[in-house]
């Protein structure tokens, strides 16, 4: 980790042009080498293939090469950084942000299996891989909270219970909606309209907008300060996994709209519900200790959403454009 750019530099830099060598570095780095990969390059890499989305078999083959062992991470230095180098304000801001991810990863792991039932055989391979990814991410946060933050619990749920007080009340908006949409699919897994609504919440909003934005905030802080190397390594590898998830999810939505253009209405209706909740915050989170302001995080949200929609070719209705003006950062992801 030699680069020490400001965490928010990417907001003014605009989209990066990745060289073939940088792409190779992102795609082929083993877990240890991920420590040297720039998180902004990985986020750029997420968007690189959105205009010509890879098929599901290609994404599955990438998964086989990119999967990593969460138990290979050594959190010893992270624990030292957390307890001896980070200030109380930095720790409080960090945990307020990462707890949404701690719970979010668990949610996106358990809500995904029902979506697989109605998928094509090739997509099933990709979704099966994604479920394993999400399980690994859940273990990653469980280890981080136990070994670095020092939270205790008899099992995974015990640690989730311990971090829940940091989860915002507005978490139930996108993640409760996803849980109920998963239940809708459980009852009728082949309902294509319900699948598109589910896919909008899961792939476009939670993974494409919330997750990538929040990843960027904590990871750029860790890179900027040179802290938490195992967190940086594991979560950047998680971001690389997310690139496959977002690409697969965007491919699903793009194919669904191409096959039946009226499916855009399902995307719009879902966004109307999500955005009607996204203008409200229940807690004030202080981003400043991590090098961000709330306005900058909001800009990051917009960038993430716009790039997904533009690259995949999804237009928004005028009333949704208006709703976007009131969006506030939701500190969660999966």
């Amino acid at each position: 980790m030699t680069e020490r750019k400001s965490p928010t530099a990417v907001l003014t830099e605009g989209p990066r042009a990745l060289t073939d060598e940088q792409v190779r570095e992102i795609e082929e780095s083993d877990l240890q080498a991920v420590l040297d990969v720039d998180i902004d390059d990985v986020i750029e890499y997420v968007h690189r293939d959105l205009k010509s989305l890879p098929d599901f078999t290609t994404l599955y083959r990438k998964y086989l090469k990119q999967r990593w062992d969460v138990y290979d991470l050594d959190f010893t230095q992270d624990k030292i950084d957390w307890n001896e180098k980070m200030s109380a304000d930095e720790r409080e801001s960090f945990i307020a942000i990462s707890s949404g991810f701690h719970h979010g990863e668990r949610q996106v792991e358990i809500e995904l299996p029902v979506f697989m039932i109605g998928a094509s055989e090739e997509e099933k391979l990709h979704i099966a891989a994604q479920i394993e990814d999400e399980a690994r991410h859940t273990v990653f946060f469980d280890r981080f909270y136990r070994e670095v933050v020092g939270m205790e619990g008899d099992d995974i749920m015990g640690v989730l219970d311990a971090s829940f007080p940091w989860v915002s009340e507005t978490f139930v908006g996108p993640f409760g909606l996803l849980a109920y949409q998963a239940d809708e699919l459980r009852r009728n897994p082949y309902d294509e309209r319900a699948r598109v609504r589910y896919g909008t919440t899961y792939f476009l909003w939670i993974e494409g907008v919330l997750a990538l934005s929040v990843m960027k905030v904590t990871l750029s802080y860790a890179r900027w300060r040179g802290f938490l190397p195992a967190y940086y390594t594991g979560f950047t590898a998680t971001c690389r996994d997310e690139s496959r998830h977002v690409q697969g999810g965007m491919k699903y939505l793009q194919d669904a709209v191409r096959k039946d253009p009226t499916m855009i209405n399902e995307i719009h209706e879902t966004l109307r519900t999500i955005l009607s909740l996204a203008g409200v915050a229940s807690r004030r989170i202080y981003f400043e200790p991590l090098g961000w302001t709330e306005d900058e995080v909001t800009v990051l949200f917009f960038q993430q959403l716009r790039r997904k929609l533009n690259d995949v070719g999804i237009d928004l209705a005028p009333d949704i454009e208006e709703m976007l003006q009131f969006v506030q950062p939701q500190l969660a992801g999966g």
Binding site: Q107, F164, V167, E169, T170, F171, V172, G173, F175, G176, L177, A179, Y180, Q181, D183, E184, R197, E269, T270, R272, T273, S276, L277, V280, A281, S282, R283, R284
Partner: protein
């Protein structure tokens, strides 16, 4: 005064009073004013009704499934009653919940997680419309769960 039994008429009356009053000052204190402004805005305009069921009431409390029907209009509760399995059920949103989860909510389990972990499920009604006001529902569910009542112990197995 003795506490009413869960899912009795007296309990439904107490639920009505509690839901009209809304979350306590202690609960409100922990969250931003803008969140409560949004809550009050929804409450002032909410035109719908909830039938929140209990699928497996203990036999001494009545037959199952029974529902707590909460009807909203003009910024207040216009009706709050228990609907038995043989009574006609007419609600905008019908939700189902097991007795164990009702009891857990009463014992302090978080209302947000009750929704997120699907311990209460939407069985009828528009999902996307329901979620536009989910914060209002979750806060109200917490209030309902906290209403003092006699909840029989769970029977193992």
């Amino acid at each position: 005064m003795a506490e009413p039994r869960f899912f009795s008429k007296e309990w439904a009356d107490a639920v009505r009073d509690a839901v009209v009053a809304g979350p306590s000052p202690q609960v409100r204190e922990g969250k931003l004013q803008e969140y409560w402004d949004f809550f009050e805005l929804i409450k002032s305009q909410y035109p719908a009704s909830w039938a929140i069921g209990c699928r497996d009431l203990p036999p001494e409390l009545g037959e199952s499934p029974a529902y707590l029907l909460v009807q909203w209009g003009g910024g207040t509760v216009t009706g709050c009653q228990i609907i038995g399995p043989d009574d006609p059920l007419d609600a905008t949103y019908v939700l189902g919940m097991d007795y164990a989860d009702w009891k857990a909510l009463h014992d302090g389990y978080d209302a947000q997680r009750t929704v997120m972990y699907r311990k209460v499920l939407l069985e009828e009604g528009s999902l996307l419309e329901f979620f536009k006001t989910i914060y209002f529902f979750v806060e109200s569910l917490a209030v309902i769960g906290a209403v003092p009542a006699v909840y029989p112990a769970l029977v193992p197995g």
